[in-house]
Symmetry: C2
Subunit: 250 residues, 2 copies
């Protein structure tokens, strides 16, 4: 008798602080490594976990998606969820576990992704915000930042707002479908959604908003960098700690 393998999909949340990012590494302290070890422990099977994409060291996820296949285990999705949460560190939590069709792929089936970037704009950073926001002490002008953010919406070549601009041109074209900026007390949040993001792209867009706020990057320079994909304008990568993968749509 052969059993059909079952494909499971997961919604995973994590605090990026204690881990070396998503992608498996030799030292084993990544989200993917922790998930694969936990799956092996609770199911007895070695499965490869596929995420919707990588997140860097220090980047958080409110809703990361992943899938993996099991061949022999008889655990139900809800048993699996409970067992994984009992095994994983509290900084990685499975919020949902369900059966997916074999055609579902956590990375290739992605329609869009949404990120949140949090800035704490006040003289002192509260202990609860440590590692969960970018601490900017100089007062931010929300209107200025909003006008800069609006420039990024639409279909553009984001080579100038990516950490590896060596890629071929057609590979750096992405569409940002929505972007908004809100301020609640000291917390400035940038919400950005699109069909895909290049390496460090969200952090470089947020860096550009802050450079514009400081008078170091004009709106015309942002537009030119987007039109010509030129990397000549000032660049600033906002720290990883403020970035949250908020949602993935399929």
């Amino acid at each position: 008798v052969t059993t059909t393998p079952r494909r499971f999909k997961l919604i995973v949340a994590y605090d990026g602080g204690p881990f070396a990012g998503w992608q498996s590494q030799v030292h084993g302290n990544t989200i993917q490594d922790h998930l694969e070890r936990a799956i092996r422990k609770v199911s007895g099977e070695s499965a490869r976990v596929h995420g919707s994409g990588r997140t860097d060291t220090g980047v958080h996820a409110l809703e990361q998606w992943a899938h993996f296949d099991l061949n022999k285990s008889r655990l139900s999705p809800s048993e699996l969820q409970k067992a994984l949460n009992a095994t994983l560190p509290g900084t990685i939590r499975i919020f949902r576990c369900s059966i997916a069709p074999p055609t579902f792929h956590a990375r290739f089936s992605v329609k869009s992704k949404a990120y949140r970037y949090r800035i704490w704009n006040a003289p002192v950073l509260p202990p609860a915000e440590l590692g969960r926001a970018w601490h900017v002490t100089k007062p931010l002008n929300i209107m200025l930042m909003k006008s800069a953010l609006a420039r990024f919406v639409g279909r553009h070549d984001f080579a100038a707002f990516s950490a590896n601009p060596g890629r071929k041109r057609e590979e750096t074209i992405r569409t940002i479908t929505s972007a908004r900026l809100t301020k609640k007390g000291a917390c400035v949040a940038v919400e950005i959604e699109g069909d895909g993001f290049l390496y460090k792209m969200v952090r470089m867009i947020v860096g550009a908003l802050v450079l514009h706020n400081e008078g170091k990057l004009a709106l015309t320079e942002i537009s030119r960098a987007l039109d010509q994909a030129s990397g000549n304008a000032q660049r600033l990568v906002a720290p990883a700690s403020g970035l949250f993968l908020r949602r993935v749509r399929y």
Copy 2:
């Protein structure tokens, strides 16, 4: 020439997780120890720091107050604040530093204190709530908890809701001036204010609310324990991680 010593008062916030409580200990990893070391480093003077009261290991503070005296230092309060924040770990932050009259005493001058206790009532605890809430998975009945909480308001003998009930009766009488319970999503917050709190008193009141919710402690038993200061009723100490010193009034 002799200089008059200056008394400084501080508003301090901290994440209780990494520290062994407020009160100085030999190993030196308490909030008081960190503050005293930082003051010595930035002013060159050894000062004793007096807090509004102790907090236990794992208990957080949004607004703890403290005072200390300096004899020779010429640092202004705002210079002192900046220097202390540059020296202290990011999990301890000085939100305000000012000159206080010599009659001000952080502990003896307290008029009232307010605490917040946070319960996360959902099947899975989000990574961001780890160490910052009590994770209760069984659904809580807010109305039941509110009626139990109301019993504690007023002047009572709280010996039965304290971890050292060996004290003399008159020493365990306290007045709770206000108490309310709110629910926002999965977060149930108990806000409680009074003229003073016994050791573990807030955590035992919250424990009583949850016991009442589970049908293990009747309203009449709570009232009897308060009237007779008897320790016969079921007792439960809610974990330290959910407790926040929220405000001190002078």
